[in-house]
């Protein structure tokens, strides 16, 4: 069965100056309903790629297609109505003065009627577990809560693609966990939704459908998490660690105990071993 391409990146090159390129010819596809994580250390070009995907930067050459439509000056407004982005700094994307105002911001921009808006805001506040905080101001919220509000604001717009641009890197461990779970819930509830997460969090990457590793401005790996992180030595070479569960699996494999691929959590491994 042929899966439907939703994003197509073709021979993308980008450099601020002519002779130094940050992205050196990048190509990959993302399919509808996929949860893809993009990882790579600082300087690998991943944050630049995020900016190109949302057209905050313009590529030097190469093209990005969203649902077959080329991303450019003309199509950007159209495409903005398909892509939502959750940014890194929770404070700088909180636009409304309260939780409900912030969730409503995107809806207001689409000129949605007030009574419809009220219902939608409540519905999505509930989905991210913020319905009890509707009239709270941003200073009264934790970083994780603010990011959940941002996510609600995007979900409320009923978009097809959500990009998380290092959305957890400024949160405390609790916040990181909240967002990780929320993404998985979101995906479960709406399998059509395409999620691209640009992250340092390899544990999150391990839970996604596919991992793309950028290194030195090129696509270094593009595969399911098991295959990508298989070789610990190789990952070390490009300064990346591997998920903890895979470390356990590798140690066990060295002792001829093979854990099935479906088991992805430490609880699962422990249960399997104690059977």
């Amino acid at each position: 069965m042929e899966k439907e391409k939703i994003i197509e990146v073709k021979d993308l090159i980008f450099g601020y100056e002519k002779d130094s390129t940050i992205l050196k010819c990048i190509s990959f596809d993302i399919f509808k309903g996929e949860y893809v994580t993009l990882i790579g250390h600082n300087g690998s070009g991943k944050s630049t790629l995020a900016k190109l995907l949302s057209y905050i930067l313009e590529p030097t050459s190469g093209k990005v297609y969203i649902e077959g439509q080329e991303l450019n000056e003309k199509s950007i407004k159209d495409i903005r109505s398909k892509i939502g982005i959750v940014f890194q700094n929770p404070d700088n994307q909180f636009i409304g003065s309260t939780v409900e105002d912030d969730i409503a911001f995107g809806l207001e921009n689409r000129n949605i009627k007030q009574d419809v808006m009220k219902k939608t805001v409540l519905e999505f506040a509930k989905k991210v577990g913020m319905d009890k905080f509707l009239n709270k101001e941003p200073e009264e919220l934790s970083g994780g809560q603010k990011q959940r509000v941002a996510i609600a604001g995007i979900l409320a717009l009923n978009l097809k693609i959500i990009i998380f641009d290092e959305a957890t890197s400024m949160l405390d461990p609790e916040g990181v966990e909240e967002i990780r779970k929320l993404i998985l819930n979101m995906k479960e509830e709406n399998p059509e939704l395409t999620v691209i997460s640009i992250t340092h969090d390899i544990e999150e990457a391990y839970l996604s459908d596919r991992v793309i590793i950028l290194n030195d401005g090129k696509v270094y790996k593009n595969d399911i998490p098991e295959n990508v992180f298989k070789d610990e030595e190789e990952m070390r070479k490009i300064d990346l660690d591997i998920p903890f569960v895979l470390k356990i699996k590798n140690e066990l494999a060295a002792r001829n105990i093979i854990i099935p691929r479906e088991i992805k959590t430490i609880e699962g491994v422990a249960n399997y071993l104690c059977q």
Partner: protein, 301 residues
């Protein structure tokens, strides 16, 4: 005698308000010279408030913080007593500039303290405030920039054109340039990628090895495990205890500390619950733990 003593200190925000908030409550413990201490606890447990009493940015509402011979307190009774016993003059208890030279403080996002036109000038700013001569300050600044891994080519650059990680290193250089005996870091690695984090932490480790006492506030248990020699846990504004990191993570009631346990100890705990009691107690790394488990499994067969 300990180098840092927290003497039953409490700190209250908005004392007479409906929003009254007890940030720390009757905290009492000591930190020794040359320790590398990690201060952990959930957001809002009072970690930042506690460390800000170390150089007089906040004055404890009750009790006092003692750093070497300096006393930090806002408790009128303590002040009265100390002045009465003629140990301190009232003026001394209100002037913290000497104390601030002793206690270097690195805040979250330290890059936001940069303001000078060149990197070198910014690093010299602290030492000059603390009475170093121009020449001394410059020497210290150059030395510290080398220590944080920035060479001569950076001296005359504007700090604002550097990358995030570089800015942070300049900021840290600016603090250690005053040659403090204590370095307090409040979540210095927030917003950095794993490599950036490692760089900063290794730098802190180096500074520690050269004889500076380190107090680091962090959420990251990997930092605690790999760098600190002692860990202090705060919960709901209270002090829960000071121990070795491995001791903390091996605790059976670690849940009650509301901390994020590193995956290794989570994994180990699962086996404890499943009946592997004695044999894994000594296993403090993954390989040895797996050794025990796999050999056990074979025996069972």
């Amino acid at each position: 005698m300990s180098m840092i003593e927290f003497h039953h200190i409490s700190f209250v925000y908005n004392k007479k308000d409906p929003n009254r908030y007890d940030a720390i409550n009757d905290i009492n413990f000591n930190i020794e010279e040359n320790d590398f201490v990690a201060l952990v606890g959930k957001t809002g447990s009072g970690k930042s408030t506690l460390v800000q009493t170390l150089n007089g940015l906040l004055l404890p509402s009750k009790g006092y913080t003692k750093v070497k011979d300096f006393i930090v307190t806002g408790d009128k009774e303590v002040i009265k007593k100390l002045v009465k016993e003629k140990k301190y003059k009232k003026k001394e208890l209100k002037n913290f500039s000497k104390l601030r030279k002793e206690v270097g403080m690195v805040f979250q996002f330290p890059e936001y303290q940069l303001f000078s036109e060149t990197v070198l000038k910014d690093v010299m700013f602290g030492p000059k405030n603390f009475g170093f001569s121009e020449k001394e300050a410059e020497e210290r600044a150059k030395e510290c920039l080398t220590k944080v891994g920035l060479d001569e080519s950076y001296y005359s650059r504007s700090p604002f054109e550097l990358s995030g990680g570089e800015k942070r290193r300049v900021a840290i250089a600016g603090i250690i340039a005053s040659n403090p005996s204590f370095l307090v870091l409040d979540e210095p690695t927030v917003g950095l990628d794993p490599n950036g984090r490692k760089e900063i932490l290794n730098l802190v480790k180096k500074i520690h090895e050269e004889g500076t006492t380190i107090i680091i506030v962090t959420h990251d248990m990997e930092t605690v495990m790999n760098y600190a020699n002692k860990v202090i846990v705060l919960k709901d504004s209270k002090y829960l205890g000071m121990m070795k990191p491995s001791e903390l993570f091996n605790k059976d009631d670690i849940e009650s500390f509301s901390l994020e346990v590193p995956p290794f100890y989570k994994f180990k705990r699962l086996f404890k619950e499943k009946g592997y009691k004695k044999d894994i107690k000594e296993a403090n790394d993954l390989t040895s733990l797996i050794d025990v488990i796999s050999s056990n499994k074979e025996n069972n067969k």
